[in-house]
Each structure stands twice: as structure tokens, then as C-alpha cells.
């Protein structure tokens, strides 16, 4: 399992604190993934450095 593969095809690193939430998923996205992304983004807003570095290494 390759944990280093960039998530976006462009190879850019993802900064959860800069995700344009309204463009990525609508507020009425009640799926598990929608919920998970909102939870992660909210956590990133609270602890941006920890979350972002961990996000990029895990995904």
C-alpha cells in the first residue's frame, strides 16, 4: 500500500484548511463522506498544522 501517493492527479498537496467547501460538496450532502469531510475540515480549522501534516502523510 502506497501511503505517499498524492491524492490529486496534479500532485499538489491538499491543505484541508483551504478546501473551498461550498464547491467541493454541497451543504445538503448527508452522505458518510460528506459528513467525514466536514468533520475533518472543522478539525483542521481548529488544529491546522497537525491535521494537514497528518492528512498528507496518511492519504
Amino acid at each position: 500500500m502506497d501511503t505517499k501517493e498524492p491524492i490529486a492527479d496534479s500532485g499538489v498537496e491538499i491543505d484541508l484548511t483551504r478546501l473551498p467547501l461550498d464547491e467541493l460538496w454541497s451543504l445538503d450532502d448527508t452522505t458518510v463522506m460528506g459528513h467525514s469531510l466536514r468533520t475533518a475540515a472543522e478539525a483542521a480549522a481548529r488544529q491546522p498544522q497537525d491535521i494537514v501534516s497528518s492528512f498528507n502523510s496518511a492519504i
Partner: protein, 400 residues
């Protein structure tokens, strides 16, 4: 990362599991309390005496004050904690509330088999904000397979009646969730759908406790390594994950899956079962003896014992006790195979007690390693594919 995590063993205790009653009104055949190697319950008082409770509350307050902890959580546990009755519950709650120093809140939860749940108990729980978790393993067949009375009668009807009360609108706020112990002989999706009929806010799927000395069901042939031709627990959980994840709307939370996703997205786990977080809880038995984690009772006689007691040691003493500290070292407490593994930041080596072996202690990977590896890989692949499709703005440009 490693240094910071290793230092975590000094982090204070934020959750106390209190054994209010040492006996149970069920005789579940898989119970780690009564059926595992550690038979310490036989020598302890049936209930926690008032003086012991007072001392315990004082100990927790001492710890909270020393570390300026804003919130501590007390889990009323057993055996079956509701056997202490309404007055016993009230006494416990008031003991902790009255003892806490200014600046420390105490929140409460209770883990019950649900048989004694009635309006009187629920009103009491609501008054004190006690969140209620109920154990049930799925439908009637799944639940009564293990969760039976001493005379062999099943418990399904009684627990469903209790959950029915708990899920009424007036008590929804204290409905903590359902706890289901996995038995791979039950159909996974049927089990999930059955649990869903009770409208739980959260479902916890627990892997049956076991280790390399006392293997869990179906894993007697398990050998070390992150791959294995048979991964029955991963197969079972993945069937539920796919059903849960692909639903058009989020039907409930599943703590294990939510935690794995959160870890993959860079967040924290909400369960000791996965992740590298430092466990913040300890167990205190009815006689005031202190144990590190209930699951350690499955590792051998006196497997859960620390030799420490609330009458002689502070909780800071407990943190410095080597076997307790060893379980709170995160990445640094893992063996070399786990430290080299590519999913260690997500599975975290699995539950500490599941790593136990006679020759390596807790330095082996979990006895569930191959199952966890497959499960994490499946969730990661699913999340990655889904995330890719979402990491595009409507104009098609990649998000930076």
C-alpha cells in the same frame, strides 16, 4: 512524531471506568469479565462501598485539580451497573459531582445490557445527563447466541424493550449508542440492518477479545504478518462498511469506521481500537483496585491487575506504573513490525490487549493484524477514489 507520542504516557487520565457492581444478570458466554483467564471478580465485593466511592471521587478530583483538567468522564460499568439500583446510581453521580474542583466538569455514561431500563432509570439518567450505551449483537438469533441468562433463556426481547424506551423522543439526548460484539457466523448486513431499526446515534462493533495466547474465534490458525489467506473479520466488517458508506444518507455513526476515515483524513480516532492516540482511561474495581484496561483480563490470570489501589496510590502514581505507561506510548510502544508498517498511523497496532503473546508481551502486532490491514486498505481505497472525484471544482480544476 515519535518523540511527542512517546511522551504521551504522562498525559493525564480523563476517563474513569467505575465498576459499580461486580456481578451481572446475564451470563453471556463470551464475557471478558467472567469467562476470561482473569477471574479476579470472584474475590471482589459485589458492589462498591460508599467509602470506596468517596475515596475514588476524591482521587479523581485530586488528579483533575493537579492537571487542571476541564472535563473528566466517568463511565458507570460492571458487571451490570444498574444492579446497584436508582439510589446507587445517584450516590455515585453525586459523589463525583460534589468532589470535583472548581473548573472541572464531570460527564457521565453508563454501559448496560439494557434489561433493567425503565422510565424511572431513564428519568434519573436524563436528570444527570448520563449517556446510555446498550449492548446488543443484532437480531434475535445473533443476540441470543451469546447474550443469555444463566438458565439459558435469551435476552433479546428484554433488551429491545429497554432500547425502545431509550430511543423515545424524551430520552434521545441520552441515547449514547449500541455496542455489538462481532460474531462472523451472523450475517453482517443483516446484523447492521437489525441494529439500525433501533435508530442508534452510534454503533460500536467490537472485535471479540483475544490475543496470540488465547486466540479469538475463527483465528486459531492465525500467524504473524499483515497478510493472511483468511480474514474473516475484515470480510465481515467490509460488508457492513460498503452498505453503510454507499447509503444515500448517513444512517448512523459507526465508531470504528468513522475513526478509520478520520485518521485517513488526518484527524483523531474516537476509539482505542485504532489509531496512535494515548488511551486516557483506567478501570477501578469495586474494592478500589486499579486496572489499566478491561480487555487485559483476557491475557492471563490477573492480566488486568496492576497491584495499585485508590487507597494507596494517586492517579499520577498509576501513570508512572510501568505496565500502565507501556500501554500509553503510542507509536513508541509498538514492536518493530508495526513501526515499519505502512498503515500504522491508522490501525495504531490495534487494541493493546490484542497484541499479547507469551514470548513478546505486547510487542507483537495485533492478533487481528491481517484483518485490520485489509479493512484499513479497503476503506482507504474507497475514500481515496471518492475524494478524488470531489477534489475538483465545478470548472474541473484541481484543488490546491
Amino acid at each position: 512524531m515519535t518523540d511527542g507520542v512517546v511522551a504521551g504516557w504522562r498525559s493525564p487520565i480523563r476517563e474513569l471506568v467505575v465498576k459499580l457492581h461486580e456481578r451481572c444478570n446475564l451470563a453471556c458466554d463470551y464475557c471478558y469479565m467472567y469467562e476470561a483467564a482473569d477471574q479476579g471478580w470472584r474475590g471482589r465485593p459485589r458492589t462498591m462501598a460508599e467509602a470506596t466511592l468517596a475515596r475514588l471521587a476524591w482521587r479523581l478530583a485530586e488528579h483533575a485539580g493537579r492537571h487542571a483538567i476541564e472535563e473528566v468522564r466517568v463511565v458507570l460499568h460492571g458487571g451490570e451497573p444498574m444492579l446497584v439500583g436508582l439510589d446507587g446510581i445517584s450516590l455515585a453521580v453525586n459523589s463525583f459531582v460534589d468532589a470535583m474542583p472548581a473548573g472541572t466538569r464531570v460527564s457521565f455514561a453508563i454501559q448496560t445490557n439494557g434489561l433493567l431500563l425503565d422510565e424511572a432509570f431513564l428519568r434519573l439518567f436524563r436528570r444527570h445527563g448520563i449517556r446510555v450505551g446498550v449492548s446488543i449483537d443484532g437480531d434475535r438469533g445473533a443476540t441470543d447466541r451469546h447474550r443469555r441468562h444463566a438458565d439459558g433463556r435469551g435476552s433479546y426481547d428484554a433488551v429491545v424493550r429497554g432500547i425502545g424506551l431509550l430511543s423515545k423522543p424524551g430520552y434521545r439526548e441520552i441515547y449514547g449508542g449500541l455496542l455489538c460484539t462481532v460474531d462472523v457466523r451472523n450475517d453482517p448486513v443483516d446484523t447492521y440492518l437489525s441494529l439500525l431499526t433501533h435508530n442508534p446515534p452510534v454503533v460500536d462493533f467490537l472485535l471479540p477479545h483475544g490475543n496470540w495466547v488465547f486466540p479469538p474465534p475463527e483465528l486459531a490458525d492465525r500467524t504473524a504478518g499483515s497478510t493472511h489467506p483468511r480474514t474473516p473479520y475484515a470480510d465481515w466488517l467490509i460488508a457492513i462498511f460498503d452498505r453503510w458508506y454507499q447509503a444515500p444518507r448517513r444512517e448512523t455513526g459507526i465508531r470504528l469506521f468513522d475513526s478509520v476515515i478520520a485518521l485517513l483524513l488526518g484527524g483523531a480516532s474516537d476509539t482505542e481500537a485504532v489509531g496512535l492516540g494515548i488511551p486516557g482511561s483506567i478501570v477501578v474495581e469495586t474494592d478500589g483496585s486499579i486496572e489499566g484496561n478491561d480487555a487485559l483480563k483476557t491475557t492471563g490470570p490477573a492480566g488486568g491487575a496492576t497491584g495499585l489501589t485508590i487507597f494507596a496510590q494517586s492517579f499520577d502514581d498509576v501513570l508512572a506504573h510501568a505496565p500502565v505507561a507501556a500501554a500509553r506510548m503510542g507509536f513508541g510502544g509498538l514492536g518493530p513490525a508495526c513501526q515499519r508498517c505502512d498503515v500504522v498511523s491508522v490501525c495504531g497496532g490495534g487494541l493493546y490487549a490484542h497484541r499479547f503473546s507469551a514470548d513478546e508481551g505486547f510487542l507483537r502486532p495485533s492478533v487481528y493484524c491481517a484483518d485490520l490491514y485489509r479493512l484499513v486498505g479497503h476503506i482507504r481505497t474507497t475514500i481515496r477514489a471518492d475524494l478524488r472525484s470531489r477534489l475538483r471544482t465545478p470548472s474541473g480544476t484541481a484543488v490546491a
